[in-house]
């Protein structure tokens, strides 16, 4: 994207960007020979992209054979991800390694993207090793891009770092003139001067103001006057001050008399307005220019007597500073909150704090544990005792003993129940936000957030929890972004001592398709398994459910039921439920006989009388393992006799 209008000759040079432009030119004229890499940083809208593109087009003009690549960081990430998922990393590396001049825009988005950083590091090494040029732009210097590999930071900072600042009045005027010439539109000189004087924070907004004037002219078919600019610009920017930079220059010629009149009036006003009011008014004008509401000061202005003006202004300044901090904080959670109205009104500190809190918590809390699954409702005996004890320990000391706790075992063994039970117990013991979700739901949410561009908010939602309980983490196998997110989330929570519990259908070491860095973290805490219920647990489960439904069951019956094989607790529950319903329908109490009749109707005749003690050999009770009905026995005997 080296748009043809982004050239050096369309780039207006002022004192705030002279160094950057000089370096850019040097790089364009001799790629790889001087500053490598060249790192250009400065606030948004001041022409970093323009400069990058200008380097590209100029270099290409000088050496048409030069392989120049301009790429926005997002595009780069996109291509990187595409190559990874297509398994074409080598192609990706070859493609970018062959570039002679790489122009990478907006690298501040490197934050937290570890794999990408690794890839970039490799790419930079490859390019610089062969004398290829790299130019980067960012809204902040390399050292201030957070969560970036030290080695990469030192690479980024290894060449020349230049910054671009906001243009001064003369530069702004020159930019406007260049824009009108380029677009071949006629705008009166005084109108341009007035726009330049609006002190808009960046060039993009300056162009915006000019656009409105030009649009007004072409739509209304008339020349816009300087008096209308203020209105057209939508009261953006700072109103012209008396001490505007131009006054001195035109004060001598045309406006000489006017200027001296003005300065007399200024002293007359200053003499007539009480000093405190004047200070207040100046503070109001300043803070309004900075975009803050000044209600407090405006009300003070109307007081009859002078307030403690130093204290008032001091408090106000402190409040503004606090607001700025809050805003910075909020932006880290949800970038969309930047520029929110609330942060502009120092009287609404409470609202702003609430907003930040809400943002921290996320708009909607992450899904919590299902209250139906309680620890009391979880029968622990035999094969699941270890898991249950580990869960109890986690509840007793969240984040301290077993972190993470990974519970694995076949489906239906009660992992989900135990997970939610832990969640509920944590809530009871005072955890404010417990996220308890299935991995699939978690991944779904992430995809949804990616779709509507709210990943930051989604991430913040989970990073603000006191405990993270994820069910069925084996569903993360084969995912990319979800694993990356989980990895960062894990590190964040684990670092803060927040409890993490996972369940999985296989042990972490057997989880295929899970990145090693994630697997190793899963194994770093306690891994416990849950097995299909064995006899003791089955008996206990039957006792719990039947008695829970108010059905009395004697030991004999329970022993009989416990002997019946079952692969999952769910199966046990199903059998118990079946018996209860059958008994209720027949309107009889549940006895061993009734149970046997219901569960094994064919066997009733032969095994009607149970043995006195010790129970029946479980093998004999298993319908699947014993052939009860031999077809046509006599026929077969005769057959064999022949």
């Amino acid at each position: 994207m080296t748009a043809s209008r982004f050239r050096f000759d369309t780039y207006v040079v002022g004192s705030a960007n002279r160094l950057a432009v000089g370096a850019a030119r040097a790089v364009a004229e001799a790629p790889g020979a001087v500053y490598n890499p060249l790192f250009i940083h400065g606030p948004s809208g001041l022409g970093k992209t323009h400069l990058l593109a200008a380097i590209g087009s100029h270099a290409r003009q000088l050496q048409p054979s030069l392989q120049v690549e301009y790429v926005g960081f997002d595009d780069f990430v996109e291509q990187f991800h595409a190559s990874v998922s297509a398994g074409e990393m080598e192609t990706f590396r070859r493609r970018w390694g062959a570039v002679d001049l790489l122009l990478l825009d907006d690298v501040q988005f490197l934050t937290g993207r570890r794999e990408l950083q690794g890839e970039l590091l490799r790419l930079f090494n490859a390019l610089q090793g062969t004398g290829k040029q790299v130019v980067l732009s960012s809204d902040r210097p390399p050292q201030e891009i957070s969560d970036v590999d030290e080695r990469l930071v030192s690479r980024l900072a290894g060449g020349l770092i230049v910054d671009i600042g906001a243009p001064d009045y003369e530069t702004r005027l020159a930019i406007l003139r260049a824009a009108t010439t380029e677009r071949n539109v006629q705008v009166a000189t005084d109108v341009l001067e007035t726009i330049a004087r609006l002190q808009l924070p960046n060039v993009r907004e300056l162009h915006g103001a000019l656009n409105r004037v030009v649009a007004e002219q072409s739509l209304a078919g008339r020349r816009v006057t300087s008096g209308e600019v203020w209105e057209l610009a939508g009261s953006k920017g700072v109103p012209p001050e008396v001490e505007a930079p131009r006054r001195a220059s035109d004060g001598t010629s045309l406006g000489g008399e006017y200027a001296s009149f003005l300065s007399d009036i200024a002293s007359a006003v200053a003499a007539s307005v009480e000093p405190w009011k004047s200070r207040l008014a100046e503070a109001i004008a300043y803070w309004r220019g900075e975009g803050f509401r000044t209600g407090v000061l405006e009300r003070a202005m109307q007081l009859g007597a002078a307030p403690d003006i130093d204290a008032l202004l001091g408090t106000f300044t402190a409040a503004v500073e606090h607001m700025r901090q809050l805003e910075r904080h909020a932006v880290t959670v949800d970038p969309l909150l930047g520029g929110n109205e609330v942060f502009r009104d120092p009287e609404r500190i409470d609202d702003a704090e609430a907003l930040v809190d809400r943002a921290l918590a996320g708009d909607t809390p992450p899904p919590g544990p299902d209250p139906a699954f309680t620890r009391q409702g979880f029968e622990s005996a035999g094969s699941n005792q270890l898991a249950a004890r580990a869960a109890d320990a986690v509840v007793a000391e969240p984040g301290a003993r077993y972190n993470p706790l990974v519970i694995h075992g076949p489906s239906g063994t009660g992992k989900t129940h135990l997970l939610h039970a832990v969640g509920n117990a944590l809530v009871v013991s005072g955890a404010r936000r417990v996220a308890c979700a299935g991995a699939q739901a978690f991944i779904e949410e992430l995809v949804g957030a990616l779709q509507d561009g709210s990943v930051d908010r989604w991430r913040a939602r989970y990073r603000g929890v006191d405990a993270l309980l994820l069910d069925d983490v084996h569903f993360f196998a084969g995912t990319e972004r979800a694993q990356e997110e989980l990895f960062h989330l894990f590190n964040e929570l684990h670092g803060q001592g927040r409890q993490i519990v996972f369940t999985s259908n296989v042990a972490p070491k057997d989880l295929t398709g899970l990145e090693d860095r994630l697997r190793s973290r899963l194994e770093g805490g306690l891994v416990v398994s849950m097995q299909p219920p064995e006899r003791t647990l089955r008996e206990a489960l039957y006792r719990r459910w039947l008695s829970g439904w108010g059905v009395t069951a004697d030991d004999e019956l329970l022993r009989y039921l416990g002997e019946r094989p079952a692969n999952t607790a769910r199966e046990v529950q199903g059998t118990a439920s079946r018996l209860r319903e059958a008994a209720a329908q027949a309107n009889v109490t549940l006895t061993l006989g009734f149970a046997m009749e219901t569960l094994e109707p064919q066997r009733r005749a032969s095994l009607a009388v149970p043995r006195a003690s010790g129970g029946i050999d479980a093998f004999l009770l298993n319908e699947e393992k014993i052939v009860w009905d031999w077809p046509d026995v006599s026929g077969r005997v005769i057959e064999e006799l022949r």
Partner: protein, 201 residues
């Protein structure tokens, strides 16, 4: 109108140029207008007849920018001098913070000057304003004309400035005295700020 609005931090001064027909009130405004740097220029509104006489009034807004935190605006008006525009004069005079009386220095216009001054007093009285309290300066215009056509300053002072308000000789066509007059009236008006702060008038 309130001269200082602390709520909006604005100072607005309405100054009316008063005087007989053809004494040079509009010329004063035009000269001022020509001196204003382009970026500070508002639109001068002039409703004139075909013979360039002020039919209704002239209006020149002067945006002085922010002074001591106050957005300061001067609004300069002229009244039509001709006798039969009595109602317009009275209307324009309403809410004036200061008045510049422009006298024609030509001796043959002496009576017109006197008549106009009386008219000013009468109109102020009708607005319930004591002419002795309203900020007022006098300008003796057309001092560039040949001496033999002019009344002396003393003569003019006797007939139109018997109260001894600040007065300024001027040549509105070429500029001398124009800004001195405006500065004179502005300073008196602004001096009254401290006395009348935030009291609506």
């Amino acid at each position: 109108m309130s001269i200082v609005n602390y709520a909006t931090r604005e100072i607005t001064c309405k100054i009316v140029y008063y005087g007989a027909g053809r004494s040079g009130k509009t010329t004063n405004l035009q000269y001022i207008y020509a001196q204003v740097p382009p970026d500070r220029k508002g639109n001068m509104v002039s409703l004139a007849t075909q013979t360039d006489r002020t039919l209704f009034f002239d209006f020149l807004p002067l945006d002085l920018g922010t002074i001591s935190g106050f957005t300061t605006r001067f609004q300069l008006y002229t009244v039509p001098g001709q006798v039969y525009y009595q109602a317009t004069r009275k209307l324009v005079l309403q809410g004036a913070d200061g008045v510049v009386f422009v006298a024609d220095s030509q001796s043959r216009q002496l009576d017109e000057n006197i008549e106009s001054m009386q008219d000013l007093h009468g109109n102020l009285a009708e607005h319930g304003i004591d002419a002795r309290t309203v900020p007022l300066v006098v300008q003796y215009n057309k001092r560039d004309l040949p001496q033999e056509l002019l009344s002396t300053i003393d003569e003019l002072q006797d007939v139109v400035n018997f109260r001894g308000v600040p007065d300024f000789p001027a040549d509105a066509l070429h500029g001398p005295g124009v800004f001195e007059t405006l500065r004179g009236i502005s300073e008196i008006v602004l001096k009254r700020l401290s006395a009348t702060q935030s009291t609506p008038r």
